[in-house]
């Protein structure tokens, strides 16, 4: 029972991170298309932002690991 909920939690965390990283990637691509000369800076900022989103998701996944 608990394992099922933990799996559900991991899935929801992945969903949230997916939406977050997806929108970061999408906006970054849009920004690079508008300003190709700033591609390097945008890419760096994109990686940092997605790392932060990922951190939140990973915290959730670790919690579901501990609960399961």
């Amino acid at each position: 029972m608990i394992t099922g909920f933990a799996a559900l939690g991991a899935g929801l965390a992945a969903l949230g991170a997916g939406i977050g990283i997806g929108s970061i990637g999408g906006k970054a691509m849009e920004a690079i298309a508008r300003q190709p000369e700033a591609a390097g800076d945008i890419r760096g900022a994109m990686i940092v932002a997605s790392a932060l989103v990922e951190g939140a998701a990973l915290a959730a996944i670790v919690i579901s690991f501990l609960v399961a």
Partner: protein, 391 residues
């Protein structure tokens, strides 16, 4: 072009390594089918004492009375989750092949204060009330690590020392190359591989985030970067000298995060501490709420660093091992050769893909750890010339 060929060669080597490993496990498991079916090792998960200290199954002791020796092969065959957890956790011996393990030195302080030392191979039979079980040394009577202070050279410590030797050799050869040819001539060999990485860390990580004082922090950042990178890469090597999950061990990432925390807070200037304890421009009453939040904020940064590296690397290892386990699940632990072949047909391309992806993750996580460390340090040493612009 040349680097692409080198990358492809490396990947192919990794894939062959994985297949080779699968083969050796499969061969072993076919020999051990009956024994494996007879003994369910469902509590392997708890071998990692640090995260599962209090939960210990009863199956452990029962299983051990029957088969005190060479448990690895059984664990590999009978329960994929137990086998995966066994492979990603630390161990007191370095499992190489089948029943062959590299014995490692053991230094353990027992609950009564007495010390037990020796090589891990001596603990196959009970010694000083301790016994080797699933690669970990546990109390012979309770089969737990409760009350034991383990200061042994474990698999992860061995790995760390190995990476230390590798890094020392690499960087001393590079240093001698610079002193021989000078810094102005074109780099050669290993030097030309590492120079762009070092320049990248200095130009793209240190300079933009740390400002004028960047030089002071470059040694720390380079150290963290190369330590994480080499251990991530060695962890991806599926056979003996590699395969330890060092950067996926929470104690290691905790130590690294604490180092960043210490460097950040030691180099923090007046403005940094002012922003923590007395945010300028905030009414006194609101400070009662803001200051605790800022103090928690100091701690969440290293916590996130720790979790990110740990979870990324561990997740990568678990995914690869799960795909390998597919062979055993579909092959019903060696009973169905057709199923195992089908499982391998699915698993091998996916393991290839995941290994390639993990090569990227190995670089990316080293980069992110270094970058975030640089950003945190940069925030602590930043000079505030435009105070009013900060609120």
């Amino acid at each position: 072009m040349y680097s692409a060929i080198k990358g492809i060669t490396l990947t192919i080597a990794l894939v062959f390594g994985s297949v080779f490993l699968n083969f050796s496990i499969a061969q072993d498991s076919i020999q051990k089918v009956e024994a494996a079916v007879a003994a369910p090792y469902s509590d392997e998960v708890h071998a990692d004492h640090s995260s599962h200290g209090e939960e210990h199954g009863d199956a452990h002791a029962d299983a051990h009375d029957e088969a005190p020796h060479g448990e690895e092969a059984h664990a590999d065959a009978s329960d994929p989750i137990a086998a995966i957890m066994h492979h990603i956790s630390d161990a007191n011996e370095f499992h190489i092949w089948g029943h062959t393990s590299l014995p490692l030195p053991v230094i353990i302080r027992k609950a009564d204060g007495s010390w037990s030392t020796g090589m891990s191979s001596q603990y196959h039979a009970e010694k000083d009330g301790l016994i080797l079980s699933h690669g970990r040394i546990v109390d012979a009577s309770t089969h737990t690590t409760e009350g034991l202070l383990d200061l042994s050279i474990t698999k992860n410590v061995f790995m760390m020392l190995l990476s230390l030797i590798v890094l020392t050799l690499i960087f001393f050869s590079m240093k001698s190359a610079y002193s021989k040819r000078g810094v102005t001539s074109a780099p050669k060999g290993l030097q030309s591989f590492l120079e762009p990485i070092i320049t990248f860390v200095i130009d793209d990580v240190a300079k933009p985030n740390l400002g004028k004082q960047y030089e002071k922090f470059v040694p720390y950042l380079l150290c963290a970067f190369f330590f994480i990178l080499i251990n991530n890469l060695l962890g991806l090597v599926p056979f003996f000298p590699g395969s330890a999950n060092l950067t996926g061990n929470i104690s290691v990432t905790l130590t690294m995060a604490v180092m960043t925390f210490v460097v950040t807070n030691i180099s923090g200037n007046k403005h940094y501490w002012q922003h923590v304890f007395a945010m300028p421009g905030v009414p006194k009453l609101v400070l009662l709420i803001v200051t605790p939040l800022e103090i928690i904020g100091l701690l969440t940064k290293p916590f996130a660093l720790m979790m990110r590296l740990f979870a990324n690397i561990t997740a990568g290892h678990i995914i690869i091992l799960s795909l390998v386990s597919l062979i055993f699940i579909l092959g019903e632990n060696g009973k169905s050769i057709g199923g195992a072949t089908g499982g391998a047909a699915i698993a091998v391309p996916f393991v290839l893909f995941m290994n390639a992806l993990e090569l990227l993750v190995a670089f990316l996580q080293a980069y992110i750890f270094t970058l975030l460390s640089a950003i945190f340090i940069g925030m602590a040493i930043e000079e505030h010339h435009h105070e009013e612009a900060h609120h």
